[in-house]
Symmetry: C2
Subunit: 218 residues, 2 copies
């Protein structure tokens, strides 16, 4: 049985591993978890002892297969609870993360799997992130950003890179919601902002926003 802190470190390492071949740095974990590098070092030693990561002094940490599965089981719970909160309890997609951070640590396989069933085995959470299966398996699909599309191309909005409450609320305000189709109409030269077509309406978004929207080409 892992402690809350151990679980959070594993999750953090998992998320920081996504875009990096080699070890995750002590500092990046510390930043991610709002602690100090020295605290992280201690934890890395412990997780290494428990065979959840491979930790080489001064060279960061990498999840072992066991560590990866363990992280994904926590992420599975996080995402299932997020679905529950949005689908059943009328939470908005920008309100769920904080609570899910707590709920993801509840220990009960039965609870997790019954919740999964109750929600009808959802495949993605409210932010478009995939939900791992009970064994901790997940299909990682390479993601395209809206900013990667060329003029005239259309994409389906399938996820957010930045899932901060601020960005999610911004999307709500512009009526940009998961599943909608977005056509790139034109790009401003001086600031790269994009004119896009969304359902009936057109609007303009900054290149920064566009690079935080995951899409699939249509």
């Amino acid at each position: 049985m892992l402690s809350l802190s151990e679980e959070n470190h594993l999750k953090s390492i998992f998320h920081l591993s996504i875009n990096s071949e080699d070890g995750v740095s002590t500092n990046s974990i510390a930043k991610n978890l709002n602690t100090k590098a020295s605290s992280v070092t201690e934890m890395l030693k412990k997780l290494n002892e428990k065979l959840l990561i491979v930790y080489i002094k001064y060279h960061g940490a990498q999840l072992t297969e066991l560590g990866r599965k363990t992280a994904l089981k926590i992420i599975r719970k996080h995402r299932l609870w997020e679905v529950f909160l949005v689908e059943k309890l009328d939470f908005k997609w920008d309100e769920v993360h904080e609570v899910a951070e707590q709920l993801e640590h509840i220990q009960s396989e039965k609870l997790t799997n019954e919740l999964d069933k109750f929600l009808n085995f959802p495949t993605h959470d409210p932010h478009g992130d995939p939900i791992p299966n009970p064994a901790g398996f997940i299909k990682i699909t390479p993601k395209l950003k809206l900013s990667d599309l060329g003029i005239g191309e259309t994409g389906k909005f399938i996820g957010v890179k930045d899932s901060s409450s601020a960005f999610l609320k911004y999307l709500d305000k512009r009526k940009i919601s998961l599943g909608c189709n977005i056509k790139v109409l034109h790009q401003e030269e001086f600031d790269q902002s994009l004119h896009i077509g969304l359902d009936e309406t057109n609007l303009t978004i900054s290149i920064k926003s566009a690079s935080n929207l995951y899409i699939t080409k249509i």
Copy 2:
């Protein structure tokens, strides 16, 4: 914000207060929480500082109004989650307590109140215990036990005193479930066991079991 341990101590004091005018003893709390008396003493000092209890050395602890409300808010969450697990996730009434012990510590008023709404504002948990309102108010009704009934009298089964998994499963096996009517037919002299009528069938239960069943006279 209270720690998990602080919350558990408050809850324990609340439950142990039910049948006692004066302070709850250090030892009883220690037994209840599976810790040692010396650990409890430390915590009582702290809760006293925080104005959640009145603690007098060598004379146990009593909840303040604030402490009582706080305890009842935790108990509210516990019982709402138990309802959720039974009603929505197909848990049996003997399987919910452990998980609810974890879920009761999740901090989110919105979550609790939305859950309450989702469950249609249940008044009692799966064991017949009343659910406090959002402000931590609860109506305590004096409880009769089946063993208090006279021969020939009938009661409606409304709650369990002993909610151990073993006892709950025993009741399942005998098809004794919340809400059913029980008539006391006869009492054996040598061991006080009761012959009771339940729907169409008759059966015999020990006086010990009978004293763990809460009923209202009909």
